[in-house]
């Protein structure tokens, strides 16, 4: 038996014991899954999007199944930053895992306000900047689909926090390389790719959308090839690391992202079916590395060969 491979990675200055995180919006604020999985065995956890004030989210129906994934329009329901900090940060601080807080705002200024508030909150390792949620009429995606606006919001947040900044980009933009460069030039320390893909399911009997919001965000296996392509294109355009996500449910899925150039991955929708997915992904990556005689997971990152 060969030596266990080195699984550690460093993303945006955060050292993680392995490159597998839980994706924002699929793992709550931490305690929800704590009975079922060992959070300490994860590279990190990205909590659900936090706004300055409590936010109600959308009217149900908020979720529906599709042939190869889920369509959701939760609408970023969250308790607001103060309640999150007082109720959930003590729990998260007790764990030996990277804590990334996903934040958003309804205005540029609000993005800055939330970022600044987390600056001196102990136990927060980085901020993931949601500029790509498809389920919000004001804010969210409108900040992430125009390069100028994206540059403005990232630069503004950069000035308000010393924490590592990880913008989460939209898969709907025409040229992802351009957006990745904009993020890098505006002060991002890493990039998360991809957010859910805007999509729709219709109830033909009622001739109405299944989701009350009409449109939702598609996640799961259906979007994985889209995500892999975007990660590959973005990785070639920038020097900052990329956290790849979109339909990962096993080690081989995660390896596609790593080989394409992601330095870490996040597991999302698959956790709902099998809460242990992320931990299984960790061990399946290890098995792959051993089989290929690779000493470190870093030896596989960005190794895609294109003829």
């Amino acid at each position: 038996m060969s030596k266990a491979p080195d699984m550690a990675v460093t993303i945006a200055g955060i050292r993680m014991k392995n490159p597998v995180l839980l994706a924002s919006g699929t793992c709550g604020y931490g305690p929800e899954y704590a009975d079922l999985i060992d959070l300490n065995a994860l590279g990190g956890i990205t909590v659900k999007g936090i706004l300055a004030v409590p936010w109600e989210g959308n009217t149900p129906i908020r979720l529906t199944e599709t042939p190869a994934g889920l369509l959701n329009a939760i609408g970023l329901q969250n308790p607001g930053m103060e309640k999150f900090i007082s109720e959930y940060m003590p729990f998260l601080r007790r764990h030996q895992t990277a804590v990334i807080v996903n934040i958003w705002g309804r205005t540029m200024e609000e993005y800055g306000e939330v970022a600044a508030r987390f600056d001196d909150v102990e136990g927060v390792h980085a901020l993931e900047l949601n500029i790509s949620c498809p389920n919000l009429k004001a804010g969210g995606m409108e900040f992430g689909t125009d390069p100028k606006t994206a540059a403005q919001v990232i630069s503004l947040v950069r000035k308000r926090t010393r924490l590592p900044l990880i913008p989460k980009l939209s898969p709907t933009v025409h040229a992802i390389a351009q957006f990745a460069r904009v993020a890098e030039e505006s002060g991002a320390d890493a990039i998360s790719l991809i957010n859910s893909v805007p999509a729709m399911v219709i109830d033909v009997e009622r001739r109405r959308p299944v989701l009350s919001n009409g449109v939702g965000g598609l996640t799961g296996a259906a979007i994985r090839p889209i995500a892999v392509r975007l990660v590959w294109q973005a990785a070639r355009a920038v020097k900052i690391p990329i956290i790849g996500m979109g339909g990962i449910s096993c080690g081989r899925d995660a390896l596609e992202f790593l080989i394409a150039g992601a330095s870490a991955v996040a597991v999302g929708t698959a956790t709902f079916l099998d809460p242990g997915t992320a931990l299984r992904v960790v061990s399946e990556i290890e098995t792959y590395l051993q089989k290929h005689n690779l000493a470190s997971v870093r030896d596989v990152i960005g190794t895609l060969e294109v003829s």
């Binding site: 919006g25 699929t26 793992c27 709550g28 929800e32 899954y33 009975d35 079922l36 659900k48 109600e56 989210g57 009217t59 149900p60 129906i61 908020r62 979720l63 529906t64 199944e65 042939p67 190869a68 994934g69 889920l70 959701n72 939760i74 329901q77 799961g220 296996a221 259906a222 449910s249 956790t271 709902f272 079916l273 099998d274 809460p275 242990g276």
Partner: protein, 263 residues
Amino acid sequence: MRLIEEATVLEHVAFGGGYRRIVFRAPNISRAAAPGQFVHVRIPQLSREALRRPFSIYRADGDELHVMYKPVGRGTHVMEHAHRGDVYSLIGPLGHGFSAEDRDTLPVCVAGGYGVAPLSFLAKRMRRKGVVFIGARAAPDILCTDDFASVGWDVHVATEDGSLGERGLITDALDRWIATRPAGPTPEIFACGPEGLMRALTLRAEKHGWQAWLSLDRPMGCGIGACLSCVQRLRGPDGKEYWARCCTEGPVFAARELVWEHA
């Protein structure tokens, strides 16, 4: 404490009306289960991309956990082919159920169709004997009457086609009982069934000033409170409205907190 357990199918039987009962060997979840709680079931034959399916717990006896269902959707149509010895992943017991504690009230259970399953579990766990109203479309849809009779409950049945019990809606039978009931302890309602019935019971509980506990069903994602899909509008004691999760704060809610019409 939420548990995840690999549960073996011990028994899977059809009992008329298209209804089925599946018995799992799930010693840890079964011993922790309370009436009104549910299990989130991974159906192994279903696609890798499908969600788990939530099922009310019908009975929890020692190692055995019973679930009652009717094949109505993609998941349950696949589950219909479950065999003895198959292994299912269960997460549970989940949610906030009914209280079986002793109180000075008269328990009145009201069930629509196979919504009777968690109420049967409740009656088994209650020391008090109460009254149960079971309604459905036709005789084959009336289930579990013996479960209540065998523990000394007063059983009322109504079917829409009159093929069993009183003809009409179960709320009609309930209203007749309310109008003619002898003096005694204040009724307390425990109910599970279609949303129309839950709304009708909310009105009655409000009118008479009774406490009512209603189990709601919403499209569910994670089942453990992370995804915020299965929300129901509630009004808290301070009058403020908010979204509560059926999987965590529910599925059983106090009727007086429910907000049915939300703009």
